[in-house]
Amino acid sequence: MDIPGFGQEGQEKLRNTTALVSRTGGLGGPIALQLAAAGIGKLVLAHGGNLQPSDLNRQVLMRHGSLGQPRIESARETLQAFNPHITVETVNANINEENAEELVGSADIVFDAAPRFNERFLLNRQCVRQRKSLIDAAMFSMEGQVVTIVPGLTPCLACLYPEEPPHWNRRFPVLGAVSSLIANIAVVQGICLLTGIGDAHLGKMIYIDTAGMNLRKIAIQRRIDCAVCQSVPSAAP
């Protein structure tokens, strides 16, 4: 990639990186695809369940012919056909208490695209415990946000949301173009963090409202009483 400051060294860093992507749907699918395009060395993908017709409005790694089949198989086939030079490891399950520690332990960086807060909080806890960087991407209707979490350097997800939101529904309005846009921003942030190009926006939330094409960078705060990260000493940036 002929990007100033990236060069062979940046490409080597990506090639030597393992990224865990939690879920490969509307957000996680394009995240995995762009990581594959950028030449990430290894993808570890976790997503359970079989492909449903209602997934196809946003889940770009899936194929119509795979309806009823495991989503994770569609994701793997699409990614390997797209870039056969990367390693794709798949887990036919969502992030859960049994697999989170091992999966996070296997990765250098984690991308979270899960639709449920309990999965996100679990991944956040593991990333903080294992000092792994976490790119948290989320969307709703025409809005989306990305937060880069580096334990010791930035607030964590529990600093942002100290309690589980009571009103989040599993079903949410989604436009595939919005989820892809947010996914791509998440990958940009991850690549900035891994390679040192650009600005990884540590301590900031990037929020976009695509209806008005408004972008905000919000300074988020580390909570000294955070139940997850308060014991992690602050590191100099």
């Binding site: 879920r23 749907g25 509307g26 957000l27 996680g28 695209a113 899960a114 639709p115 449920r116 807060f117 996100r120 991407a137 989320a138 969307m139 709703f140 209707s141 809005e143 989306g144 946000q145 942002l160 949301y161 100290p162 309690e163 589980e164 939101p165 009571p166 009103h167 989040w168 949410f172 989604v174 989820s179 939330m205 929020y207 409202d209 008005g212 905000r216 960078k217 919000i218 300074a219 988020i220 705060q221 909570r223």
Partner: protein, 96 residues
């Protein structure tokens, strides 16, 4: 004599739907707590808005991200309103 100040409130996600607007102007007493204004706006808006913002103890839900002039506020009960504050109220989102 206490002065009033004008502030702007922007809502995201389900909050914008419940408010019926994405952004509105509001008037508050200068130096009054941010939470007081939010409680007044929620009551004036709808029961749904009140439920989204406040718990059964009438405390602002901790999962609501309150942003003032571009920075998250973690102490909205003790945060005092001043002229032209830009309030951004974020409903937690997790879609994927």
């Amino acid at each position: 004599m206490p002065k009033t100040v004008n502030v702007t409130i922007t809502y995201t996600a389900q909050l914008a739907r419940a408010a019926g607007v994405e952004q509105e102007s509001a008037t508050a007493m200068q130096g009054s707590p941010l939470t007081l204004l939010l409680r007044d706006r929620a009551v004036a808006c709808s029961a749904e808005m009140k439920e989204l913002l406040f718990d059964s103890d009438d405390t602002l839900r901790k999962s609501i991200v309150v942003v003032v002039d571009g920075s998250q506020i973690t102490n909205p009960d003790s945060f005092s309103l001043e002229r032209d504050h830009d309030l951004f109220l974020m409903m937690p989102i997790s879609g994927g």
